[in-house]
Structures are given as C-alpha cells and as structure tokens.
C-alpha cells in the first residue's frame, strides 16, 4: 500500500506536471515540441512574408525552362538549349564522378601512407609522418588552390611540345600529355562498336555495358571456381590450383569481346595549337582530384594506422603458432579485425570527400554547386528553391553513402552472443 501512496493520494493536481517524475518528462517534451514548432512557424511565416514583399512565389517550375549556359564537362547530352533540370543532372554527375575518383585515390594514398608510417624503415616512416602532419594541418581549400596553381602555372603550354627542340614531352610512352590546359589521356575506341542506347534522359554506351556484363560474368565464374576449390579442400584436404582457371575466365572472354568490338586506344596528338584526340581532363578536375585525394589520404592514413595498431600482437603470434604463413595471416587474421576498426571512420572520410567536392567553386569545376547553386541560381533568382534543393540532394547523397557503408559495417561487426 505504501508503495502506491504517491499515485493514489488526492488525484491529479496541476503541480504534478512538474513535480511528479511520471509526468515531468511529458511536460518537458510538450514544452520542447511547442518551442520547436513555434520556431519553425516563425521562420516559415517570415519567409512567406519576405517572399510576398519581394513579389516572388515558391515553385520549382524553373527546372523545366531553358538553361542557356554551357557546361564544359558532361557525361550526358547537354547543350545551352537544355533545361535547368538537365544542367542539375550534369552537375550532379560531375560531383559524383569527382567524389568517386577522389575516394578511390585517397584510399590508395591513405593505405600506403598509413602502412608506411608504421614501417620499420626509418626514412619512409619519417617521410610519411611529414606528409600526414603537413596535409592534415593545412586547409583543404589552400591545397585545392595550390594544385590549381601548379597545373596552370608550372606545367608546360601545348606549344612547348612542338618542334625539334621541344622543351616538354609526353610521359608514359607518349600516351599522356600534361599541359597547362589540362591532361590528355588515351581513350578507348571501338571500330565495330554497338552504338548508344537512348534511355530518355541520357545515352548509354552499349560497348561499356557489354564490357561490364562480361567482366561481371568473369568475376562470378571466378567465385564459383574458388568455392569449388574450397569444397574440394574441405573434402580431401588438398586444394586444387585455381589461379590459371580464374585468370582464364576473367581475361579470355573480355579479350575476345574487345577483339570482337574492334577495340583500339585513341592517342592524344598535338595538332595545331592544342592536343586532339584522347580524353581531355580539365585542370579544374585534376586539381580537385589530386587535392581532395592527398588531403583526405592523410586522414585515411591515420585511420589505417590506428586500425593496424588496434590488432594486438598476440593475434599475429597466435596465427603464426597455428602454422599460417605471413600471407594468410594478414588476409585471414589481421585484416578482418583491422577493417572492423577502420571502416566506420573511413565512411565519414568518404562523406567528407563528397561534401568537399562543393569547394570546386574555387577552381571553376562545374559540379552541382556551380550549376544548380551557381549559374542557375543567379540566372533565375530563385535562391530559396535552388539552395533547398541543393541541400536536399547533398543530404540524400550523404544518407545513401552512410546507409550503404553501415550495411557493410554490420556484416563485419563482431558477433557477440
């Protein structure tokens, strides 16, 4: 009886909303919600009033009107006659492309630097420490501008490649030209190509699709072969050699397809005042790519180092005691444990790269911020709509990346019972 005396005595009083712990949390939450709603209402009311004062409305109709500006790097068909919506798509693809190549290179740089800093080699360890500390402590914007300055100021002009006494030369067996206008690399060409497929919004190269399908099929066949080898090993104790089978299913169909399509590289060549042929990568793209990669690479290096250090020495020693050779020790014992520590912070570095692509504004790379949040915004004067849409797109991108990575994270998580 005494236990319930608090709740039964006297019935409900107003003061209990604050003094009774059963109701207090409700009171606080209602108060909090009320404040938040009032704040939101205040903002919306102000916005409506300000829009009315300026004689503007709130609609996204501008996305369907003619853009009237050009974009110098595009993965889908686009001209100045296209709509603002298509400009948005081009910008978004440029953002995604930059983020993808920067994530890839940053991972390579970061893993190498992280392992290098742990190396027993004195000079390599010192060099990597200097690299990591320098890049981590200087703003990425400065690195972007420095890279851009290196590309435009320190690289030779196309004319320097001409003539007998050329002061500059192409690198990698005359296949890549680095000039102050950009970098030219060989492009894949197909003499018996399959053409493009128009799927409404943009064109899809069927050659690329065919290569991807055959490549994926090869990887699938390789997986089947490995699984079979595993089954044989479990049954008999000896593992059949698989490397030549895997190599065959991975490479032969791909080579056959490339031969059938008439694949040949298109080399960049100096014609007139500039290089022709090949794939042209603009300075802005190269500068953003390198700057984001080496800057984020320094952070990834520290993450990798921490991950490797997190696996205790006893694990390596136990694996060696079980008779595993150094290769399998790393692959089966160290990496799975280190990856569990490395992956979550690595995700946030990939997110940082994706968000930092918006700094492309500094070098004039036409990413989402420069199309939708730049020229489109200035031309249409729809700040509110353009900024909100842009924030929404970045938000969705971030959420997708973190969701995908969290799925992976869950699969490698320590399974405790």
């Amino acid at each position: 009886m005494a236990i319930f005396s608090d709740s039964t005595r006297g019935g409900f009083r107003l003061g209990m909303l604050i003094y009774d712990t059963r109701y207090r949390s409700l009171t606080i939450q209602v108060g909090f919600l009320f404040l938040a709603m009032a704040g939101a209402a205040w903002l919306v009311d102000n916005t409506v009033e300000n829009l009315r004062a300026l004689g503007k409305d709130f609609n996204y109709g501008f996305l369907g009107t003619r853009a009237g500006y050009d974009i110098n790097q595009r993965f889908v068909a686009y001209s100045s006659d296209s709509t603002h919506g298509q400009a948005l798509l081009v910008g978004l693809l440029n953002t995604l492309f930059l983020a993808a190549i920067a994530c890839a290179l940053a991972t390579v740089v970061g893993v190498l630097a992280g392992i290098g800093r742990l190396s027993r080699n004195w000079i390599v360890a010192r060099l990597m420490t200097v690299y990591i500390e320098t890049f981590r402590n200087i703003p990425v914007l400065l690195w972007i501008i420095v890279m851009m300055a290196i590309m435009t100021e320190a690289m030779p002009a196309p004319s320097a490649f001409r003539g007998e006494d050329a002061t500059a030369s192409m690198i990698l067996w005359d296949s890549v030209a680095i000039t102050n206008r950009g970098v030219y690399i060989p492009e894949p060409l197909f003499t018996r190509g399959l053409g493009d497929l128009d799927i409404g919004v943009f064109l899809v190269s069927l050659d690329l699709v065919a290569v991807l399908i055959v490549g994926a099929a090869g990887i699938y066949a390789h997986l089947i072969i490995t699984r079979h080898a595993e089954a044989v090993q479990n049954a008999t104790g000896t593992r059949p050699a698989t490397w030549w089978k895997s190599l065959a299913v991975l490479l032969l169909p791909l080579l056959a397809l490339l031969w059938a399509l008439g694949f040949h590289p298109g080399w960049p060549e100096l014609k007139g005042f500039n290089f022709q042929g090949g794939i042209y990568m603009r300075n802005s793209l190269i500068a953003m790519w390198l700057a984001l990669s080496v800057y984020t690479g320094a952070f990834i290096a520290e993450i990798v180092r921490a991950g490797i250090l997190a696996v205790s020495r006893g694990q390596t020693e136990a694996a060696r005691a079980l008779g595993l050779r150094p290769g399998p020790t790393t692959r089966l014992v160290i990496l799975p444990q280190a990856l569990r520590v490395i992956i979550p912070p690595l995700i946030s570095q990939y997110l940082n790269i994706t968000k930092n692509t918006s700094l492309a504004l500094a070098v004039g790379y036409m990413d989402l911020r420069s199309t939708l949040g730049g020229i489109t915004l200035n031309q249409t004067g729809r700040e509110l709509e353009a900024m909100m849409l842009m924030m929404l797109i970045y938000l969705v991108l971030s959420l997708i990346i973190s969701a995908a990575m969290n799925l992976y994270n869950r699969s490698v998580r320590l399974k405790e019972r």
């Binding site: 300000n50 027993r120 004195w122 000079i123 501008i145 700094l359 900024m387």
Partner: protein, 427 residues
C-alpha cells in the same frame, strides 16, 4: 703422465662487438636496409628527398626579402631561380589584419594578447582560478576592442548574466523547478527587449567608447581567429547539449536533436555559408539586417556543434552503464549525474575527437572567402590583383599554409598534453 686437460683459470678479456653490430652501421642495417624491399624503399625515398631538396633548396637560398614588386625581385635575382618573400615583408600586416585601419592595429593585437590571459585559467591548472572572472568578461572586452563603439553595448549585454542569476535566485525558494527555466528566459528577455534601449540611453548620457570599425574592414588571420575562437568557444557547450539530447530518453527531444545533427552533417559547410549570406534575409523578420561576420560565426558554430555532438556521443557511449546507475543510486538528479559523474569521464575520452573538430573548424574558416570575406586566401587573391605582385603564388601559399600549420599543430600538441595530464589509469 703429463696432464692433458686444460682448464682456463682467468676470464677472457671481453672483445669489442663485431663492427656490423654497433654504431651507425648497425643502425643503418636495422632501420634502412633490413631486407631487400626495405633497401629499395630507402633508396627510392632517399632519391625523392634529394630530388625535392635539389628543386626547392636554391629557391629558398636565393630568396629575396626586400623589394617593392615582383619585377624588382626578378631584377635582383637576375634570371636565377629564387623565392620572392618580399611580398610577405611588404604585405604581412595586411595578411594579419586585412583592411583594419593601421593606426588602430593595437586594438586587435591587445585583444589577441588578452585572449591568452583569458584562456590561461581554462587551459592550465597552474594559473589561479580567480582569473576565470576575466575569462567571463573577455567576450565583451574583445568585442569592444575589435569593433569599437560605445562601451555600453557589451556592458549591457554582459549584464544579461546577472539578470539571469537574479531571476534564478529570486524564484528558487518559491518554485525550485521553474527557477532554472526562469534563469534562462530572463536574460533572453533582457537582451531582446531591454538591452537596446538601455544601452542607447546610457550611450547618450555618457558617450564613452572607442572609434567604431566596420566588419567590412576585417580580414586576414585576424578574421580567421575571430571566427575560429568564437566557434570553438560556443560549439563545445552546444555540442554537449546536442549529444545529451541525442542520448536522452525523451523521444521528442531525441528526434529533434538527431534530425538537427544529421541535417547539418549531411550538407557541405559551404551551402550553410551561402544560406547565411543569401537566405537569412528570407528567414528573419523583414528589415532585419545583421552583421555578416556574426552570421558566419553562427553558421560555423552550428556546423561544428553537430560534429562535436557526435564526438561527445562517442565519449558518452564509452562510459560503462554502471557509472550511470551508480550516479542514480547516489540519488543524483539528471543534471547532477551528468555534470559530476558522466561528462567529466566522457569528455576526457573524447578529447582527441574534440580537438580534431576544433582544428577542422579553424581550417574551415577559410571557406568564408566564398561569401566575399577577406580571409588569408581571399587576401592572397587580392594581393595578386595588384600590378606590383601580379603572378606571385608560391610565397603567399607557403606563408598562409605555414601560419595555419602552426596554429593547428599547436592545438593538436595541446590535446596530447591534456590527454597525458588527465590520464588516471595506471597502464
């Protein structure tokens, strides 16, 4: 029979270790050439270092420190490769202060020096606690020194704190649970309703103050430091509140905090800065127009607070449940449990992350160049726009980079020192 056994009766004199096992040869073998791969790496890295030194060495050695323009530099160098640090010599006051009036340089300098006095009691335990009073009034003093104007604005703003305390103390005997809320609401009311007229009246009666300087004149490292320090000081408490909100049992509080944190972390800072410069006029009552630096500080602070909240949440997650339960069983209420038991431990765990967020925030202050503020990077463009220094790149970048490096490196060293100082376990 002759004794054929031989028993040695004296010790052999110890021999010197083989030459390959001592001194620099041993060191080289251990650290540089322990295997073929390491040897190759050493040679490769050594070649890279030599190549870099050969490329940059002459550039530094021939550096020109006194010249009026890039053309003059080139004349002095006479075709040789060399840096033209004369631009730093010529413009370093501008890189530090932006376009702040040069007769008033003593004001930001004094504010900067006083900053260390204000920070000292918070950073180092050896400094007397009583100096914390100076830390409390420092924001008002710094504002007065930097922007100038009458002394009554900062004073009246600071008076909000005693107003809040007075409201809290007055209500505490009668309504103990409402008193904290009143303590929060009273200063807000004071700032919104009373502060403006009171400051106006006082300024009319006693026009004491300093010559005002507009925000448009601010620039260079002064601007970075103002935005950085303010952001750092405000984002930590805000981040703690957000982290507590995210861990809260109250569903609505938690939802709103999660939504805020994930939104801020999901968008690039640059979009928030553009919101501050383009959209804030839409969100505020018509006719409101407030300072661009203040807007930027608010956005940078909110941005850093969301990251801070995640770092602190990690720290909170690292505290064993038993600590929370022990605090509850001692009869501490929520705020006391957090303040006395949980947060001191959680913050200690989170120090590296917190300082990393600070460093990130300080580096992110360079982004204000996109909304037209003249931070060091913006100034480097402005200096290059001058015909005297047209075409100068590396010297400016080197100077700006070195300055940022020094600030950020010192911060990370301090965090390591703090970790060591607060370490209580005996490992």
């Amino acid at each position: 029979m002759e004794e054929s056994r031989f028993v040695r009766t004296e010790m052999l004199a110890p021999q010197a270790p083989p030459l390959g096992e001592i001194g620099w040869i041993r060191w080289l073998r251990d650290n540089l050439f322990s295997s073929w791969l390491n040897g190759a790496l050493t040679l490769l890295a050594g070649a890279a270092v030599v190549w870099l030194a050969a490329g940059i060495g002459p550039w530094f050695a021939n550096a020109v420190w006194n010249a009026g323009s890039l053309a003059e530099c080139r004349e002095i160098l006479a075709g040789a490769e060399g840096a033209c640090f004369a631009v730093i010599h010529d413009r370093w006051l501008q890189l530090l202060f932006g376009f702040y009036p040069d007769t008033l340089y003593w004001r930001p300098t004094l504010a900067f020096l006083l900053l260390f006095v204000a920070l000292a009691p918070a950073l180092f335990p050896a400094v007397p606690r009583r100096l914390l009073w100076f830390t409390a009034v420092y924001p008002g003093l710094a504002y007065l020194l930097l922007w100038g104007g009458t002394i009554w604005g900062p004073l009246v703003a600071l008076a909000g704190v005693p107003v809040g305390v007075a409201a809290f103390l007055a209500l505490r005997p009668a309504l103990p649970l409402l008193a904290p809320a009143a303590g929060l609401v009273a200063p807000v009311l004071w700032w919104l309703l009373a502060a403006g007229p009171v400051a106006g009246l006082l300024a009319a009666a006693l026009p004491w103050g300093l010559a005002p300087v507009g925000s448009a004149k601010f620039g260079g490292f002064m601007l970075s430091i103002i935005i950085g320090i303010t952001g750092i000081a405000v984002s930590l408490p805000l981040g703690i509140l957000l982290a507590l909100g995210r861990k809260s049992d109250l569903f609505l509080v938690k939802t709103i905090c999660v939504g805020f944190i994930e939104f801020i972390r999901g968008v690039p800072l640059i979009t928030l800065l553009f919101t501050a410069s383009l959209l804030l006029n839409y969100f505020l009552p018509p006719g409101t127009d407030f300072d661009i630096i203040l807007r930027v500080v608010i956005m940078v602070t909110l941005f850093a607070a969301a990251y801070m909240a995640e770092v602190i949440r990690g720290g909170l997650a690292a505290i064993p449940r038993g600590q929370y339960e022990a605090a509850d069983s001692l009869g501490l209420d929520y705020w006391k449990a957090m303040r006395l038991i949980v947060l001191p431990q959680a913050l200690k765990v989170a120090i590296p992350g917190i300082v990393n967020t600070f460093i990130g925030l300080f580096k992110d202050t360079t982004l204000v160049v996109f909304i037209g503020l003249l931070d060091p990077i913006g100034l480097s463009t402005a200096i290059r726009a001058n015909t005297d220094w047209n075409g100068i790149y590396w010297e400016l970048f080197l100077f700006i980079g070195a300055m940022f490096f020094v600030f950020c490196f010192l911060m990370s060293r301090y965090s390591m020192h703090l970790e060591r100082r607060l370490k209580t376990d005996h490992r």
